[in-house]
Amino acid sequence: MKVFLDTNVWLSATVFAGLCEAIVLESHQRHRLLTTRLVQQEAHAVLRRKFPHISHAPALFDAVWSQAECVADVDEPAKDNDARLVRAAQSAGAAVFVTGDRRVLSWGLESVGMQILSPRQAWLLLSGQAQ
């Protein structure tokens, strides 16, 4: 199964041990973990803003993020990165898009061919515990 993680999931996994970390590991080991450069750019911007005193924070992120398979970004809509990431995931054939963003989760009902799931929902699916 191809799995695409939103930037907030990547950052959660990079900063804290827990559910998002488990999703990254599970996706990497048992599925296909996809990403795009836009995820990296967003994550770097957040890390530089949040940790200005840790200059190598983006490098720490990259060491984790670079283990995923990088697919093509989508340029439109230019002012909505969330929509761009969802479209990039769909274009790459992802079966699951994982996010903690409630706005993006609300798109799940309209999404065709790809599930948009919270980290908890994704964990149950990816680990084979979903009902």
Binding site: S12, V15, A17, E21, F51, L60
Partner: protein
């Protein structure tokens, strides 16, 4: 290509032979595949552990106490 000699327990040797029979591959091929997969996972685990060690304390000091805080804060 270099050569590595590894001592296996009887149980490990039996498991390796079974994997070879089931896949039709040689011991070397099976071990190389397993090692390649394991090293990728090892590198990812190491990268995660290093990031947690260097970022989690600063994150808590700056208001991110749990991963849920990040999920809600980063949009």
């Amino acid at each position: 290509m270099s050569t590595l000699t590894v001592r296996l327990s009887d149980v490990e040797d039996q498991a390796l032979k079974l994997a070879c029979e089931q896949s039709g591959k040689s011991k070397s091929e099976v071990v190389r595949e397993l090692l390649s997969d394991s090293l990728k996972t090892y590198r990812l685990r190491q990268a995660l552990q290093q990031a947690h060690a260097e970022l989690s304390a600063s994150a808590r000091q700056s208001g991110w106490l749990t991963e849920d805080d990040i999920l809600q804060d980063v949009r």
